[in-house]
């Protein structure tokens, strides 16, 4: 996994890749070095997922309706 990939990785992608790796390792028909490569990629993904979950901070944004910018001040 290159650095670029890792930066663009979403939590969803990381999870689905992790699930795929676990399924592939469960199959058990891979040569040892391929298994070990998958294992280390999986461990990397686990770290990424845990970090994403731990460090996430909700971002807030606001958009204004196309035509009526002043509406929000008249609320309720």
């Amino acid at each position: 996994m290159s650095k670029q990939d890792k930066n663009n990785l979403t939590f969803e992608q990381a999870m689905s890749r992790l699930e795929a790796i676990v399924a592939e390792l469960d199959g058990g028909s891979l040569p040892l070095d391929a298994s070990l490569a998958l294992f280390s990629e999986g461990a990397e993904l686990v770290r990424f997922c845990n970090q994403s979950l731990e460090k996430a901070k909700l971002k807030l944004d606001e958009l204004f309706p196309d035509t009526a910018r002043m509406d929000s001040s008249l609320d309720e």
Binding site: T10, S35, D71, S72, D75
Partner: protein, 401 residues
């Protein structure tokens, strides 16, 4: 005595009635009876009745076609009308311009009829409902900027799934401008690349929530390309937006819960996958260890001497084979040699001696030329059966040819 015609009378009464300003705009409450809709013109003809009496009424099609409900016999209504006279029959009647279902459940009737109309357009069709994304990254919220709904949604998402961006597009959530304002906000967010939209409003009276039954707004919800979760009012409140949305939540908080996964559950899931990863790596190693153990217990590795013995046998066999083939080779050579010797023998000069020739040797060297001999030289004459000594008595050149 003054006499007038029927027409004159009717015209006079009509003029009297129409002059009275109180009869130009009246609100009349009553039940519809004998309703007929003219097939071609679309005008409604009926009577408004109560226990004490009835009055004829007409509603021309240009008013009838904007009715929010379908009038029917027996329905209690409130009609806005002017009073006039139909001269041909000498009958006074109401010219109705607006009509609303009257009394308890009137709004419910209108709502039910609107719902039926929208349902016929497929607006509530379950087949059109879009699935909610499992891990939304951008969540659009249409609600009031100052309402409790926004606070509730934000609190829930902050706790459950802070891995996303919450985009607010605020709108008026009650009053007559609310439907258009909500619709604009919804359409704005639908174009903003959100994964899911929340249309939310806190609790309120049925009248306050009424704007969420607006036909244009409901159609806008239906048209959204982004999945919409509707959460208007409390558990018991249902609006047409709830039916048109892809999912309905009983409250804004519940809508937020519905929109995002739970962080704690994801932690568990990641841990579970990590455990599986670990276990499968361990079992891979255990499998290899077993293979090594199986190979180690193989007789070849357990008693290497046996292998050496077996190879020694093989070497012996090879050795013997080699030896045999060497012997055969030598025999073949000997045989060939004997054959060649026989041939050689047949060509031997000794055989010539048998036929009466004799070989002259000087000091064991054959003499081939007469000129090599001098008088007095001793030579050996070899015959086939032996040799004799002789001396040269005359040298070469002395012999006359």
């Amino acid at each position: 005595m003054l006499t007038i015609t029927v027409s004159q009378l009717n015209r006079y009464v009509k003029a009297v009635l129409e002059e009275d300003p109180r009869l130009r705009e009246v609100y009349v409450r009553g039940e519809i009876a004998g309703l007929v809709r003219h097939r071609t013109s679309g005008h409604y003809y009926f009577k408004l009745a109560d226990e004490g009496g009835s009055v004829k009424a007409v509603m021309f099609s240009r008013y009838a076609q904007v009715l929010e409900f379908e009038p029917a016999d027996g329905m209690a209504v409130l009609a806005r009308a002017s009073v006039g006279v139909y001269e041909r029959e000498g009958a006074y009647q109401l010219y109705v311009t607006e009509m609303l279902p009257d009394g308890a459940g009137a709004l419910a009737v209108a709502l039910a009829q609107r719902k039926e109309r929208l349902a016929a357009l497929g607006v509530f069709d379950p087949a059109n409902k879009k699935p909610l994304p499992p891990f939304p990254r951008k969540i659009g919220v249409v609600t009031s900027k100052s309402g409790a709904a926004l606070h509730d949604i934000r609190t829930v998402i902050e706790r459950r799934w802070p891995l996303c961006t919450l985009v607010l597009c605020s709108a008026q959530v009650q009053g007559k401008d609310a439907p258009a304002s909500l619709k604009r906000a919804l359409e704005t967010l639908d174009k903003a690349g959100c994964d899911v939209l929340l249309l939310a409003r806190g609790g309120g009276s049925a009248e306050e929530l009424w704007c969420f039954n607006d036909e244009e707004l409901v159609l806008a919800v239906h048209r959204c390309r982004t999945p919409v979760i509707s959460a208007v009012g409390h558990e018991i409140d249902y609006t047409l937006c709830d039916y048109a949305a892809d999912a309905r939540a009983p409250t804004p908080s519940a809508a937020a819960e519905m929109a995002v996964p739970d962080r704690q559950e994801m932690f568990r899931r990641v841990r579970e996958l990590e455990g599986k990863l670990q276990k499968s790596a361990e079992s891979q190693i255990a499998l290899r260890r077993q293979m090594v153990a199986r190979l180690a217990s193989h007789p070849a590795l357990r008693s290497p001497r046996g292998v050496v013995e077996r190879y020694k046998e093989k070497v012996d066999i090879c050795h013997k084979a080699l030896y045999n083939s060497k012997r055969i080779f030598i025999q073949r050579l000997e045989h060939q040699l004997a054959k060649e010797a026989g041939l050689l023998d047949s060509l031997s000069p000794l055989r010539v001696l048998d036929r009466g020739y004799c070989m002259v040797l000087q000091k064991d060297v054959p003499v081939t030329r007469a000129s090599s001999l001098q008088v007095g030289d001793e030579v050996e004459l070899r015959f086939s059966d032996g040799s004799a000594k002789a001396a040269v008595t005359q040298a070469a050149g002395e012999v006359s040819g």
